[in-house]
């Protein structure tokens, strides 16, 4: 029964059916399935969504609906994950830089990261460089991700790097950039550790960066 319900959950997540996914989660949890197993299904669902996007079968609306479903389900299983003693893979802070109010791409990245086992703190839009640094310090973040979607706001990216340096945490925090106005060539200019072209690239980038850090942190 549980296997069928997990399959149902995966299908609902891939189809972006939030309400159906949450109802199914409730049934799965009541059935005694571990949150860890549910997480695995969620990761698999997001992989399927990513593949469909890559081959142009899915478009941004599909990513958004699946991401929203995933985020809601994550909230539902968080208490169970804690009970099972599961750890997040790392702490990620995300935000659109000061002057930029574009939320869509960043929200998709946040959903995909959350669905792949990261603890995500989304600071929202129009985030000042010092706020990135303060939050990173306060939360002991592993990664700070700043996005810029307008050519007029890319100038804020190096300022985030400077703020992390000024806070004295740059050596222990990875800094990544993304957004429609950015490109890989902006990485060194912004003083960043990497650039993600899309949400899945951001996950791969963070996985790689944190693997390099492994040994310092207990990442499950």
């Amino acid at each position: 029964m549980s296997k069928e319900m997990l399959q149902e959950l995966e299908e609902a997540l891939v189809a972006g059916e939030r309400d159906k996914a949450r109802t199914t989660i409730g049934r799965i949890l009541a059935d005694g399935t571990s949150a860890q197993n549910i997480m695995e299904v969620m990761v698999s669902a997001m992989g399927a969504v990513g593949r469909k996007y890559e081959c142009h079968e899915y478009f941004l609306p599909d990513l958004i609906l699946s991401g929203q479903a995933l985020k809601a389900c994550m909230q539902d299983i968080l208490p169970q994950l804690a009970k099972e003693g599961q750890h997040f893979r790392g702490k990620i802070i995300l935000g659109a830089v000061q002057g930029d109010v574009h939320d869509i791409g960043k929200s998709i990245v946040a959903s995909v990261l959350a669905g792949t086992g990261y603890e995500v703190f989304d600071l929202g839009v129009d985030v000042a460089p010092k706020v990135f640094a303060q939050k990173a310090q306060e939360l002991n973040a592993d990664v700070v991700g700043a996005s810029s979607y307008m050519t007029t706001t890319t100038a804020q990216l190096p300022k985030v790097n400077e703020a992390l340096k000024a806070a004295g945490i740059r050596d222990r925090v990875k800094f990544i950039i993304g957004g429609a106005a950015t490109a890989e060539s902006y990485v060194s200019w912004a003083g960043a550790d990497g650039w993600g072209e899309n949400a899945w690239a951001a996950v791969d980038l963070i996985n790689n960066l944190l693997e390099k850090k492994a040994g310092k942190e207990d990442i499950v």
Binding site: P61, M150, T154, A183, E197
Partner: protein, 389 residues
């Protein structure tokens, strides 16, 4: 206190003096582009910018640029004097002016473009409360109309006033918010069509007011409808019919003139690129905008066949506007900019009906913009057959 009116007149004098020495005016050249006439001398193009500092203007703030017609036109003219380009797109915050007049709330930072802070339609029932704004008095519609009027008054006899507003689908995004609209398209498509009817009426009124002021139809930008922002199927249901109706309305009130509607991106993501392109062109738009992301196959896009795209546009009598990557203009070097402009000319120039566009990002070295304009002027018509091959 700076007298901008006087400064504008001084700039206009300089522009007129320069243009008088050229074999034809930029307006005449633009007309040749739209009539597929290859006797325009050199390639036609220009650029937009979102901040006065992009073109070296330091006595106008971004906030003034987006609120004061005189200062906006002043910046366009400074750019024209400095860079000597042919096309001066009249573009403010295209995706916000109309929806602000409908009730969407904006924040105006001093040093950057205004930003939406609250969409007019929070709950679906809010739609019924909205009225059609009066372009002569609501929000910044009068500001934008004044910009176009002043532009035409000063240099309308020598430059084409390429003003842009937005198409109904993008307007719906500004009224409802993208994520809400995405959910609405899935759960309540009838509501979305009702919203689009409203956005269409707003655009017809706004573009008509612009036409009445200057005698030229405004273009309708629709980047929110460009895949991957929505799927080709959603575009067919929610964007194309309303864009086509807007263009039809423009044709009717302007006595047969063609408007311009553009996605910019997304052609390469359609399952059948050629069908998709033909379908978009069939809206009745006079222009097809193709951003360089899809020419190069970068930023998550596939590659379009540029020569085939030009051929289809030629068959449908739609001018192809190839739009250089802003990152290229920003990063340069000038040699690469020249090379890319030339390559596009070689492929798209033959037969005419081709133009260029780009955006100049903040802190772009001026020599990069100069290289872009110089390259346009060095790309001559008619294009040599061997170069085209």
């Amino acid at each position: 206190m700076i007298n901008f009116s006087k400064k504008i007149d001084e700039l206009v004098d300089q522009i007129r003096e320069r243009v008088s020495k050229e074999p034809m005016t930029p307006l005449e050249r633009s007309k040749k582009v739209y009539t597929w006439d290859e006797t325009l001398g050199h390639a036609f193009g220009g650029f937009a910018f979102w901040d006065p500092k992009c073109v070296g203007v330091t006595d106008v703030t971004a906030k003034e640029f987006y609120t004061n017609p005189e200062k906006m036109v002043y910046c366009l003219l400074v750019a024209a004097v400095k860079f000597k380009h042919d096309s001066l797109p009249i573009i403010a915050d295209t995706y916000q002016i109309d929806v602000e007049a409908c009730g969407t709330k904006l924040h105006y930072p001093e040093d950057s473009m205004p930003v939406i802070v609250e969409h007019a339609i929070q709950k679906k029932s809010d739609l019924a409360k909205l009225r059609i704004p009066n372009p002569k008095q609501d929000g910044r519609m009068p500001y934008f109309i004044e910009v176009t009027k002043l532009f035409v008054e000063k240099i309308g006899d020598i430059f084409y006033p390429a003003a842009s507003t937005e198409a109904p689908f993008s307007g719906a995004v500004g009224l409802r918010g993208y994520e809400n609209l995405v959910r609405d398209m899935r759960e309540d498509p009838l509501f979305v069509h009702e919203l689009l009817e409203y956005a269409l009426t707003v655009q017809i009124e706004f573009t008509r007011a612009i036409y009445d002021a200057i005698g030229y139809p405004a273009g309708s930008a629709d980047a929110w409808a460009a895949p991957p922002n929505i799927s080709p199927k959603q575009l067919e249901e929610f964007a194309l019919p309303y864009a086509a109706r807007l263009l039809e309305a423009i044709k009717v009130y302007s006595g047969g003139k063609r408007g311009r509607w553009g996605l910019g991106w997304g052609y390469s993501l359609a399952p059948d690129q050629e069908h998709f392109l033909r379908m978009c062109n069939a809206t009745g738009s006079g222009t097809c905008s193709l951003f360089e992301e899809e020419i190069l196959g970068v930023a998550g896009y596939g590659k379009v066949n540029l020569a085939r795209t030009k051929e289809i546009c030629r068959q449908q009598k739609v001018v192809l506007s190839t739009n250089l990557l802003p990152q290229l203009i920003y990063s340069g070097p000038p040699e690469t900019i020249t090379e890319r402009v030339t390559k596009l000319h070689d492929i798209c120039g033959p037969g005419g009906g081709h133009m260029y566009y780009t955006t100049v990002p903040l802190n772009t070295p001026f020599e990069h913009v100069e290289a872009y304009v110089r390259a346009l002027k060095n790309c001559r018509y008619p294009v040599q057959a061997n170069a085209a091959a």
